[in-house]
């Protein structure tokens, strides 16, 4: 039996009334557990096992799956479920954690990153939240993008900087050796380094340009896809929402 804070990344229906929940917990990392009766209207687990909920959960160890038997809401993140765009963005954050993290690899840093990023999306600072989340998650996972030296020759970049999907910057001499690169403006380069290194308290003073955020989005999209072996489902949904 263990009690820990967690965020519900994903839920799936099981049988008539149960749910399988994937929770990213503070002390145990990713946990996949059964929540019995959690789809019944008057069940105590009904609201605390909804996607994005930050709760304090009690789990029982099981042979194959653990059981989530109690949940107390710390932050419901209800606005993330009341706004279609916010919901899609929050799903993207949760899916990234779900696909990159294996069970039994706790990282309190990823937990805090996830909570803070959901809060930022909740408050409407969506694009900055997403870009910072992507960069920091990669850093936490040990996939820190190299932003200081060319990943091929190791020199410091001069006038024009490129970003390769292989996870770092590339100088103009080495660029021809790389298949997919994005040009990165000076401002974006500086912003990326700050998003990677600065703590939360300092992030709020940043007012990045929309242009820089788009540049980072393109770089990180390629880098994340390069690290993953399958497409992200939440991206398809975000794409569908662009028609409006």
């Amino acid at each position: 039996m263990y009690k820990t804070d967690g965020v519900v990344l994903r839920t799936r229906n099981l049988g008539e009334a149960d749910k399988i929940v994937t929770v990213y917990t503070k002390t145990k990392g990713k946990v996949v557990a059964v929540a019995r009766g959690a789809r019944r209207i008057r069940n105590r687990l009904l609201s605390s096992t909804q996607m994005f909920t930050h709760g304090r959960y009690l789990f029982f160890d099981g042979k194959t799956l653990d059981t989530l038997c109690q949940g107390e809401i710390v932050l419901s993140f209800q606005p993330l479920r009341d706004d279609l765009d916010k919901m899609a963005y929050a799903m993207y954050l949760c899916e990234l954690v779900d696909v990159f993290v294996e069970e039994g690899e706790p990282s309190p840093e990823i937990f805090v990153l996830l909570i803070n990023s959901l809060k930022m999306v909740n408050e409407g600072q969506v694009l900055l939240a997403l870009r910072r989340f992507e960069l920091r998650l990669m850093k936490c996972l040990g996939y820190h993008p190299e932003m200081h030296h060319c990943i091929s020759c190791g020199t410091e970049p001069e006038a024009i900087i490129y970003f390769s999907k292989e996870g770092g910057i590339v100088c103009s001499h080495c660029k021809p050796q790389f298949s997919t690169t994005h040009i990165v403006s000076r401002g974006t380069w500086e912003l990326t380094k700050r998003l990677l290194d600065w703590e939360w308290s300092r992030i709020s003073i940043l007012h990045p340009s929309a242009f820089s955020l788009v540049e980072i989005e393109h770089c990180m999209r390629d880098y994340i896809d390069y690290r993953l072996d399958r497409p992200l489902r939440s991206l398809g949904f975000l794409q569908t929402l662009k028609q409006f």
């Binding site: 994903r10 839920t11 799936r12 049988g15 008539e16 789809r39 209207i41 008057r42 105590r44 009904l46 609201s47 605390s48 909804q50 996607m51 809401i73 419901s76 209800q78 479920r81 009341d82 706004d83 279609l84 919901m87 899609a88 799903m91 899916e95 489902r233 939440s234 398809g236 949904f237 569908t240 409006f244």
Partner: protein, 198 residues
């Protein structure tokens, strides 16, 4: 399942595939069927096959039906200016029990669930949109009050509202006969949001 005779093992196996039926229940049902009369067994088997063969989907509302269009779609006594959108055909049965709603239905056959690969294209949304003629004055969205149901409701509202048709969502209420202190905080705040004048 070596302990069963082969035909019995097969019956147990088939029953286990049904929703909500575990191996123990399947075994009990199988022994009940075996223990009953031949007529009862035939009647059950033919009911299953008959239902499967005669029941299809209504080409307008996608409700399950044995006639096409279904009896709701051709009933002149119903208000054809209002469409109530539900996730599954069984939701119609539940709503009909209230005797409150007299309009038409539309069954989506699911709800948006991006993480399970179910997007708007996997549901009967295009078919709903093609039903939204000038005659329609309101679309009531009665999808489930969970994340998937809410996502579906919000998505439909975005599609339908630009047509100038009123889109409403069933209210999130307090359980009738319940006790306030046992209601979870999200239901409670939703109920406060949807409060009405007395």
């Amino acid at each position: 399942m070596a302990q069963y005779a082969k035909p019995l093992a097969r019956l147990v196996e088939e029953l286990t595939k049904l929703p909500g039926i575990g191996p123990k229940t399947a075994q009990r049902l199988a022994f009940f069927i075996i223990g009953g009369s031949k007529e009862n067994a035939h009647s059950l088997a033919s009911a299953i096959v008959g239902a499967k063969e005669k029941i299809g989907y209504c080409s307008r509302c996608f409700n399950v039906t044995d006639v096409n269009p279904c009896r709701f779609c051709v009933d002149n006594g119903r208000d054809s200016t209002v469409i109530c959108v539900v996730e599954e055909a069984r939701d119609i049965v539940v709503l009909e029990r209230t005797r409150e709603f007299k309009g038409l239905y539309h069954v989506l056959h699911g709800a948006i669930s991006p993480m399970d690969g179910i997007g708007p294209g996997e549901l009967r949304m295009k078919e709903l949109m093609s039903r939204l003629t000038e005659e329609i004055s309101e679309v009531i969205i009665a999808t489930d009050p969970n994340v998937e149901g809410e996502a579906t409701a919000m998505y439909l509202a975005r599609l339908i509202k630009p047509l100038g048709i009123r889109v409403t969502r069933m209210a999130h209420g307090m359980p009738v006969g319940g006790d306030l202190e046992y209601v979870d905080e999200i239901t409670l705040s939703k109920a406060l949001e949807g409060r009405r004048e007395l």
